[in-house]
Symmetry: C2
Subunit: 184 residues, 2 copies
């Protein structure tokens, strides 16, 4: 992967981590919080990889400033990821996140909704891309729980199955549309 | 404001800051980057306010753990905001963010799009709430540039005017829908 591609992966992952961390808090869900911690390891590795490649490229290009942009961006994105980890850490500690906090977060401009795909849902057997959930409802699926397993950061090729628990993010007003669209 | 409400404001503001920071990077826009820095001041103040009130409440309730949840959450959200500031800082430094980075970010799962409201657009004179842009298109408006002024974090009551530049965030697939919906 080129530096630019790594930075893109870092950006998308850090945003997913923040979304997941707030979901973990909202639903007091330690599994999701644990996944945020795991993703942090990946972001850390990428950060170091960007630093290494940026310096290597600087030796070739003799372009100091370009190398610094890459290094600083990677470090900045890592800081966003650190914040997500700290939030997840509150969920994972013995201290119970206070229910009032979770209730307050539900009033956020951006809602995080969970919807179970019911029997006979038009979503069953379709991919997220085919369902166009995002453009049809305004919510987008950030994770899926299927039985005991979790799919984090699903993409357009991810198949939706009956019984899946979809965790989706979007504007408050779109939550009800998602529910109707999935038939949940 | 109660502690819970402050935490909610902090959460929404930190997410807006991350979105704005990436927009600033994508469009090499120093005005947006500057606004991220300004918002940081607010998040800092809120962080201190949460700490103060959490301790005050602990004295009343004798509940140490609850106070710690509030304090740690506020600190965590502040870290997310710090990451956004660092990203904005790359844009504001003399070092030019490398165009290749901006190009790479355009491939992100979540797109940031800019659309100018053209003459005769159905959006003109309506509020964002009336337009239901988010649920109709899957993108939501995070900022509006109107002439020389900026509206950051507009809400459902914000009126859209002809010539407005809308900065919106959402899944890649929704960008074209937004363009068609606004008639831009």
């Amino acid at each position: 992967m080129e530096i630019e591609e790594i930075l893109l992966e870092m950006k998308d992952t850090s945003e997913l981590m923040v979304d997941l961390a707030y979901s973990a808090l909202l639903y007091d869900n330690e599994e999701i919080a644990q996944h945020v911690i795991e993703l942090e390891g990946r972001v850390d590795e990428w950060d170091q990889e960007v630093q290494k490649r940026a310096v290597e490229r600087a030796i070739q290009d003799k372009d100091v400033e370009k190398a610094l942009v890459f290094i600083r961006l990677a470090d900045s994105i890592e800081t966003v990821a650190d914040g997500a980890v700290e939030i997840a850490d509150v969920v994972l500690r013995d201290i119970e996140p206070h229910p009032v906090v979770a209730a307050a977060l539900q009033e956020s401009d951006t809602a995080i909704a969970t919807v179970t795909v019911p029997t006979g849902s038009p979503a069953t057997g379709q991919t997220l891309g085919e369902m166009k959930i995002a453009s049809e409802t305004g919510m987008w699926v950030i994770a899926i729980r299927r039985g005991d397993t979790w799919i984090y950061g699903p993409d357009e090729n991810t198949l939706v199955e009956q019984g899946d628990l979809l965790i989706a993010r979007g504007p408050m007003e779109a939550e009800e549309e998602l529910r109707q669209y999935i038939g949940g």
